[in-house]
Symmetry: C2
Subunit: 357 residues, 2 copies
């Protein structure tokens, strides 16, 4: 284990949300400490971090002090400003690397990257103008979906075009932001695979999960997913291809559409992923520890799973169901967010449904 962090080392985490919170807990299991950098107050990760810096990403003095105080830097969300990353990278390594971020931050770049790897995606066209949109609609047809190239998450920054007459409203809704038009994929269901790549280039993956979304937000992930053995293998190979192409270090979440003509890659996230939360109660080494192991240069877990699990997100007023979920012995993972808001991810519950099969 050369180039590895020893117990006591400090991992810097950009972003203090629930993913940072669960990364901090996983780091603690390996005897590692965490320093969370988060612009907002009352960050969920702050409750369990060794150290917290509350400062904007534009505060170069705070960023520099943060970087010097840690041994390696990772991030729990993709939209960290480039200038902040440049400054940090001049002081400490960032894992996963900048190319993974740059690729995934832009839907056009991401889709082109996936195509170059020979992976299937939805048909897409870049849209920089109203005329581009007309041309794209003519090529793809309707229904289609217009998405901003940057800053989209949880269904935000995208609008459906069901008939050509919707084009004006859709274009106006995104306020002229650089976008792509994607064709609809008629899929049987959605799945995702959580992969990981170590500092030594080793690759591991968890069994794919089956995802149900509602209004663009993940509701449930069920493991095992309804997939043939061939599809299961394909999912893992897709993750491995992306990981290796990016010379990636850490955990990645790859979203897939399951179709009669094979798996189609929707997008990937260069971080631990909501659809991998089931691993906390289905595996000995969960996705959060897997990510920490990777960026700390430790050996990866092999992704083995002891149980079947249904993960359910607790969103907004779902928090009212916590007493009932606690009473039936569900594994609760609450994020400590001070205020319940509609559409806000407040926690999740994992239910073991039986031994792995």
């Amino acid at each position: 284990m050369s180039d590895t962090l020893a117990p006591g080392a400090i991992i810097g985490i950009l972003g203090g949300g629930q993913l940072g919170r669960m990364l901090a807990v996983a780091a603690s299991r390996l005897g590692l400490r965490t320093h969370v950098y988060e612009p907002g107050a009352d960050a969920p990760a702050a409750d369990v971090a060794y150290r917290v810096t509350t400062a904007p990403f534009e505060d170069t003095a705070a960023l520099g002090a943060f970087a010097r105080s840690v041994d390696v830097v990772t991030y729990e969300f993709e939209n960290v400003p480039t200038a902040a990353l440049d400054l940090i990278e001049s002081i400490r390594p960032i894992r996963p690397g900048r190319n993974a971020l740059a690729t995934s931050q832009d839907r056009l770049t991401e889709k082109q990257f996936l195509q170059r790897l020979g992976l299937k995606t939805a048909p897409f066209f870049a849209v920089a103008s109203r005329a581009d949109l007309d041309a794209a609609l003519a090529a793809i047809g309707t229904p289609a979906i217009l998405k901003t190239r940057r800053m989209g998450y949880d269904g935000k920054g995208q609008v459906r075009i069901m008939v050509p007459a919707d084009a004006d409203a859709a274009f106006a809704a995104l306020a002229g932001a650089p976008s792509i038009l994607e064709g609809f994929v008629p899929f049987a269901h959605e799945a995702s695979v959580i992969g990981a790549r170590g500092l030594d280039g080793s690759v591991a993956a968890y069994d794919p999960g089956e995802n149900v979304h509602d209004s663009g937000i993940l509701r449930t992930t069920t493991v095992p997913a309804r997939l043939s053995a061939a599809e299961r293998t394909d999912a893992v190979l897709i993750a491995a291809r992306v990981l290796n192409a990016l010379n990636y270090v850490g955990v990645i979440g790859v979203e897939l559409f399951v179709t009669p003509y094979g798996l189609i890659v929707n997008e990937f996230a260069p971080r631990v992923h909501n659809s991998g939360h089931w691993t906390q109660n289905g595996c000995v080494i969960d996705q959060f520890e897997q990510h920490i192991r990777a960026i700390a240069g430790w050996p990866l877990g092999d992704g083995s799973r002891h149980s079947n699990v249904v993960m359910e997100n607790l969103i907004g007023n779902d928090m009212d169901r916590v007493p009932a979920l606690a009473a039936v012995g569900a594994a609760l993972h609450l994020y400590g967010k001070r205020e319940v808001k509609a559409g806000r991810k407040m926690g999740h519950a994992n239910r073991i449904t039986g031994p792995a099969h």
Copy 2:
């Protein structure tokens, strides 16, 4: 769930060792925060606590501020000074309650309590003087073991008397501290049961584990233990009897000797217990979360277990084996202690050995 802590509430923990560390992590899963009170610097629990007070137990101002800042107080070790507990209890509830502490802090009181409940213990006599020791030895015979009534843990504060001629040296070794002489129990093996009692009086228990000690320190716990169905039931009933008699709230660890003539109670600890660490990877709700659920007034988990587990303590230089253990996918739980010392518990490793049977 009346009288329960809501997410965001703060649990005070007296003691900042590894048990406090893992309690803090469990609390975070339920959206609760922790405030750790610990006299020593670099406390393992401080890495993952929301707040830390570093002050001696004699600092009444610090103790008062600590108590007022939290919603309920628990402890991770039994030897908190009585005056500190008195002060805290005047401000906030302490769970488990003072009677559990008072009973378990004194080996004589504890043994008498167990006897009153009709539970089997090793034969014992109080030893306050050299003459008491002679009388006790005459009654019990040798081999026997002389133990201080207070402050014993991990084999400290006890000395074996193999033949009557050892009596002088044994008495001198304990420097005249109030003690008890215990007869040796010829046992097949050691087991323990981790029980819990909720604020509503409900009781739950995990499957008993089988323990191997070396020089008074726990080395491994294996689940399931080699016990008959009747012994398994007895173990749970013993835990329940102790819990109910103490009107207990929280997790308790009860150590047992397995003998041909039934289970003999060695001692109990009014807290999460080293022999319950296997629950972190064998159960959906582990002993740390179970303790937090109990003291927070939440429903208890039912103790169900999905896997067979072998827990191994990593003591002193066992830390050199961490890279090898990480490479074979063991679940590591390291305590973040800055310095490796001989005999010091540095972490533990859980290996799943198969589905529960």
